[in-house]
């Protein structure tokens, strides 16, 4: 592929008109502007088949975007020769760092993670269907030394047994009260989540999705809020597969959009059956804590839980992501499950949860069609 390519529009025309039977190789001038380097995904399976496609573009002074992928060189760091195409596959797991050179400009690095052992997604039984059930997120902000918290526990337990409501939400217990004192279910993720919600110390507190706060602990108040927030259809559906791999839990998620929008994706690790003596308890089950938030993948920053970018999706379009959730030594992986959250931008560009799905370790969930 060692060729010279110069371009000159009129000269090119003349050369073609000259038509001497030999092709004249054209030369493309380097376009001045801001260099952009993008990848179709920041992760791929290390199976030799899954691929990431790169694109290089230049935004000129007028704001016009020029695709210069064909004229740029894309390098895997420390490789002397550029890639022979803009498609990358590998059969070795690990992190790969790429950069692009165009003219005398170099791009920012792109890190691609190749993951082995990615759990297989379940087949989509209704490819053309985009009518999904909706489940909101309920976060119970609580703590083992919070003596008022059993009241909320009672309300949520009753709610979970009410068949007209228990299919409308997924529940997370975020143990952040009193800095996690004497609470085996406390986690840094829960602490950060409480800060992200800007809680004002009124425990127990129930929040809905990422923005709504409950007015009280009573069942009727909770139901009223669910009634307000529930939706007949979700703008996006979720399919997922979760498996344990060594000390990690691997989560493969795919979403299918019903409504075109910009979406983000997060995966939260929850643990059941954590024993921690509950202040104010009156029933033994108060001491065993379920759905406790352990780890949140897809945080944008320490205090932002809106999820990693999936980008703009058209109706019917799918996109996916793989998360690697670490399991700390004191957590019981067998008791863990993964809550997947999809957030979408509102008119102001603010993201909130638009659907959620829960997947047990070693299992899969298919799109929940209506």
């Amino acid at each position: 592929m060692k060729i010279w390519k110069f371009i000159a529009g009129t000269i090119l025309s003349l050369a073609m008109l000259g038509s001497c039977g030999n092709e004249v190789e054209t030369v493309v001038p380097v376009i001045d502007g801001e260099l952009a380097f993008a990848a179709s995904s920041d992760q791929l399976r290390s199976d030799g088949a899954d691929a990431v496609t790169f694109a290089v573009s230049v935004i000129d002074a007028e704001g016009t975007v020029h695709d210069v992928t064909e004229h740029a060189e894309i390098y895997l760091t420390y490789e002397k020769a550029p890639l022979t195409s803009n498609v990358f596959t590998t059969d070795m797991e690990g992190e790969y760092i790429f950069y692009a050179v165009y003219g005398l400009q170099v791009s920012q690095d792109i890190v691609i993670t190749a993951i082995n052992d990615v759990p297989e997604l379940p087949a989509d039984p209704q490819e053309d269907n985009v009518s999904f059930r909706h489940r909101m997120l309920l976060v119970q902000h609580t703590g083992a030394t919070c003596s008022n918290c059993p009241r909320m526990m009672e309300s949520l337990r009753t709610l979970s047994q009410d068949e007209s409501y228990n299919g409308l939400y997924h529940h997370v217990a975020s143990h952040s009260y009193n800095g996690g004192e004497a609470d085996a279910a406390y986690s840094e993720a829960a602490r950060d989540l409480s800060m992200a919600y800007n809680l004002t110390g009124m425990y127990p507190m129930l929040t809905f999705n990422l923005t709504s706060t409950s007015a009280g602990t009573g069942l009727s108040e909770i139901k009223a809020q669910i009634d307000q927030l529930k939706k007949d259809k979700a703008p996006v559906g979720i399919a997922a597969a979760v498996k344990q791999s060594g000390d990690d839990i691997l989560v493969n998620v795919e979403v299918k959009a019903a409504d075109a929008n910009s979406y983000r994706l997060a995966a939260w690790l929850l643990e059941d059956g954590i024993y921690s003596l509950q202040s104010g308890m009156s029933e033994s089950w108060h001491n065993t804590h379920d759905n406790a938030l352990r780890y949140a993948a897809g945080k944008v920053s320490q205090l932002s839980f809106v999820g990693e970018k999936l980008g703009e999706l058209k109706a019917g379009e799918k996109a996916g992501k793989v998360f690697v959730l670490p399991v700390e030594e004191s957590w019981v992986a067998d008791n863990c499950e993964v809550l997947i959250l999809v957030t979408a931008a509102d008119a102001n560009g603010n993201y909130d949860v638009v659907n959620s799905a829960l997947c047990q370790v070693g299992e899969t969930v298919v799109y929940d069609y209506k």
């Binding site: 592929m1 060692k2 010279w4 390519k5 000159a8 000269i11 003349l14 050369a15 000259g18 001497c20 039977g21 030999n22 030369v27 493309v28 001038p29 992928t69 064909e70 004229h71 740029a72 060189e73 390098y75 760091t77 420390y78 490789e79 002397k80 020769a81 550029p82 890639l83 022979t84 195409s85 803009n86 950069y99 050179v101 165009y102 003219g103 005398l104 400009q105 170099v106 952040s176 009260y177 009193n178 800095g179 602490r191 409480s194 800060m195 800007n198 004002t200 110390g201 009124m202 059941d272 059956g273 024993y275 009156s282 029933e283 033994s284 001491n287 379920d290 320490q302 205090l303 008791n335």
Partner: protein, 787 residues
């Protein structure tokens, strides 16, 4: 994708265009012979690296060379690292420039016989965004300064123990610890995190910052870092160590200042030297005079006498064992500022004096007398509704107010106030309760509820009046209510209502026909006789309350309507409620046991998961102790039993333990699973599938285990009876043959929990009989310091 070896160069393009155009015009079918320029092009030749250090990438292109050709570089500066490891890139890396001077370097770039090109590299001087300096240490404070490079930089500072600081492994760990603390403080203050952080942020430079309240002669670390209100750390953490000075050993003077507003006395005591232990307190004139009459009109003598009395009083009540503890509790070393609510028109003395560790005053004392202000009358219109709903031991009260001024509401048998006018009643209440005691009966705003704990057939007078700072602020309202006469205990009937039946619980409301009587109630199996109920109650008093009737009556007896949830019952099983009137003081049964209908718990919902808990061998704890006294100490005189569980089916948690044996314990018919669940959940091992238990020799025990499945259902309880005998113990060497280390030990309290098979009854809701004539009240903050 095509590859590009040359990029656009206008001059070169002009030349080529000219050549091509000429050739096309003259020799239209001859291929152009393009002459390639051989040179090295760089994306930049003047590079400035930021003062904080960075890597700058320079792209190179070797025109006329093969793809993959790599330049050579020569660098004349040690502070600059130059790398060509990455294709097409020259990476120039410099650390933070802390040399105090601008530095420059020249990098020469060459390729074969090509003309060499040069890159000039420079780096400006690094200036820390924050400079922290320790200016001075005193006995209880440190003085430091913070200079910020940017006057708009916001930052926080902390002073912490050196030991804690050294435990931290990184700036990030310190910051995360701080963030947790900020979050907790925000929670405690009921404000969003950003609001809390805003209150602790400083902006720009400060001189002579003083951090007080430290211990003398102690090691600390001061650290500061940039922080935004959103909780984002913007700089590294800057720290300096600091050691506080030893306490001042010479004489001191103390300054006492008193202000008062709205009957809140604000006292400030300022010692002339930091780090000197001193005592301060205050006393009203009446108390002072009573001491002065005995010890002389000298504040030092009066307060020394008070301290001696207080120490003895605390020792008598076993709150204190040594005078040194008192010294530690009541010593101050810095300026103190304290507020307390004082009585109107009352004279107080505030006293302060240096003292030694034996609580003896020394040196010059400081004191100041202050007479508190009077209280103005309240405009609060208090409307009381009472007497519509009266039974033998309580009546309903509703109070409406027009503002939040405090008021007293108190009820007493009318005979206590008989013949008294308003002034006399007020004097009587102050005499009986004291101005401090009356605070227990002070309310604010609208309230409603029942006045409980009254005697039957008794006329009560309830008085309501505005009250503040020991002074009546509104006219007194009086109401009389006569409680309903009590009938004979034996005539008291009970109405039982089943509110809800769960698989393992019954929620029941018991309403006696006569609210005068105290009664015990609980659920029993349908065939339980009245005698068995009485026997059970007697056992409860003796075994659970160790014969302490006061405790029993306080926690177990009800008066009036009582609602409670009885938990850990067997599913799908009939129970009846038994209630019996008892004497609150003597525990005597005053009437027959009354039974309800039989109520049945919900259908069973056991988990199909099964659990077993077994052991292969057990060992003599004495043998273990002989080999390893540390490991064997808790097993001395006991059998050491390594118990393992096996679970068949899904589960999310499990619990197992060893119970002392009681007749029938191994039989679910006699001891239903529901009776064991609570003890297992409270005391059982839940964290390891094999543990070493401690079991008594020659006594029957039961190993019991339960699992909870993923749906939260409880499994049936596994139970197996054993008796451990020494002669059956395995050789301790087998333990070590199998494993060189012991299985995780269970601490003694978990090994043999004190067993209680009494069914649990939740404390009735809203039963406030313990506080006679007292409703839920809004307590005023007690700002009084020591009296």
């Amino acid at each position: 994708m095509s590859e590009v070896e040359k990029s656009f160069n206008p001059e070169r393009m002009k030349r080529i265009l000219f050549i091509i155009a000429t050739l096309l015009a003259v020799f239209s079918c001859v291929e152009p012979a393009i002459e390639v320029e051989r040179n090295i092009e760089l994306s930049q030749t003047d590079v400035v690296i930021g003062s904080q250090g960075a890597t700058v990438k320079v792209v190179y292109q070797i025109n006329g060379a093969d793809q993959g050709a790599q330049v050579s570089v020569a660098n004349d500066a040690e502070w600059l690292t130059v790398s060509t490891d990455k294709a097409r890139l020259i990476e120039l890396t410099a650390e933070k420039n802390e040399t105090g001077a601008l530095r420059e370097a020249l990098v020469r770039v060459s390729y074969q016989d090509y003309e060499e090109v040069a890159i000039t590299v420079s780096q400006t001087i690094w200036e820390d965004p924050i400079v922290l300096n320790l200016e001075e240490t005193q006995a209880t404070s440190v003085i430091f300064s913070v200079q910020t490079l940017d006057s708009e930089l916001t930052w926080v500072g902390q002073v912490v123990g050196k030991e804690w600081f050294e435990e931290m492994e990184s700036d990030e760990q310190i910051f995360q610890e701080d963030l947790s603390y900020y979050s907790l403080e925000a929670q405690n203050q009921g404000v969003p995190l950003s609001d809390y952080i805003s209150t602790i942020l400083n902006k720009g430079s400060f001189q002579n910052l003083k951090y007080k309240g430290l211990d003398p002669n102690s090691e600390y670390v001061i650290y500061v870092y940039g922080l935004t209100a959103e909780g984002e750390r913007t700089t590294e953490i800057y720290s300096v160590p600091a050691v506080t000075q030893p306490p001042y050993d010479g004489p001191i003077t103390l300054d006492v200042q008193i202000k008062e507003e709205n009957n809140i006395m604000d006292v400030t005591v300022t010692p002339s030297h930091d780090g000197v232990y001193y005592y301060w307190n205050l006393m009203d004139r009446e108390t002072y005079d009573s001491y002065a009459a005995q010890y002389g009109d000298d504040p030092v003598k009066v307060f020394q006498a008070y301290v001696e009395w207080d120490i003895q009083d605390l020792i008598d009540y076993e709150y204190l064992t040594t005078r040194a503890e008192y010294f530690e509790w009541y010593s101050d070393i810095n300026e103190v500022n304290s507020q307390f609510e004082c009585m109107a028109l009352t004279e107080y003395i505030v006293f302060a004096c240096k003292w030694d560790e034996d609580c003896n005053f020394e040196g010059e004392a400081a004191y100041k007398w202050h007479t508190s202000a009077d209280v103005t009358p309240s405009s609060n219109q208090i409307t009381v509704t009472v007497g519509d709903d009266v039974d033998q031991s309580s009546f309903y009260v509703e109070v409406k107010t027009t503002n939040s001024d405090p008021y007293v509401m108190i009820a007493e048998p009318s005979r206590f106030m008989e013949g008294m006018n308003e002034e006399q009643i007020y004097a009587h209440l102050v005499e009986d309760y004291g101005t401090f005691g009356l605070l227990n009966y002070v309310y604010e705003g609208d309230i409603a509820g029942r006045m409980r704990g009254l005697d039957p057939d008794t006329e009560y007078t309830m008085v309501v009046f505005g009250y503040k700072a020991g002074k009546q602020t509104t006219a007194m309202q009086k109401f009389t209510v006569r409680t309903v006469p009590a009938g004979p205990a034996e005539d008291c009937t009970f109405d039982f209502v089943l509110n809800e039946a769960g698989s393992n619980s019954l929620n029941i409301t018991v309403t006696p026909s006569d609210a005068a009587h105290f009664y015990y109630w609980y659920v029993y199996s349908p065939d339980t006789t009245a005698d068995q109920v009485r026997e059970n109650i007697t056992d409860l008093i003796q075994k659970s309350y160790y014969g302490d009737l006061y405790e029993f009556s306080y926690y177990e007896l009800s008066q009036g309507v009582s609602t409670g949830m009885i938990s850990f019952l067997a599913p799908n099983t009939g129970y009846k409620v038994a209630a019996v009137v008892m004497d609150y003081n003597t525990g005597e049964f005053l009437a027959d046991v009354v039974f309800s209908d039989v109520y049945t718990t919900g259908e069973e919902n056991y988990s199909p998961t099964t659990i077993t808990a077994t052991f292969d061998k057990f060992y003599d704890g004495d043998d273990l102790y002989d080999i390893n006294p540390d490991a064997g100490a808790q097993y001395k005189d006991y059998a050491m039993v390594p118990v393992s569980i096996t679970i068949d089916g899904d589960y999310k948690s499990y619990y197992y333990t060893i119970f002392e044996y009681e007749t029938g314990l191994e039989d679910p018919a006699q001891y239903p699973d529901a009776m064991l669940y609570e003890t297992l959940v409270y005391y059982g091992v839940y964290y390891a599938e094999t543990v070493n238990f401690r079991a008594p020799w020659n006594k029957a025990v039961v190993i019991a285990a339960m699992a909870i499945d993923n749906e939260g259902r409880y499994s049936r309880v596994y139970r197996q009876k054993y008796t451990f005998r020494k002669y059956n113990a395995s050789d301790i060497s087998e333990l070590f043959t199998k494993s060189p280390t012991l299985t995780r030990d269970v601490k003694i309290p978990y090994a043999l929990p004190e067993m209680s098979f009494d069914l649990k009854k939740d404390r009735p809701q809203g039963d406030d009989r313990y506080n006679a004539a007292k409703m839920e009240q809004v307590r005023k903050e007690n700002r009084i310091r020591k009296f």
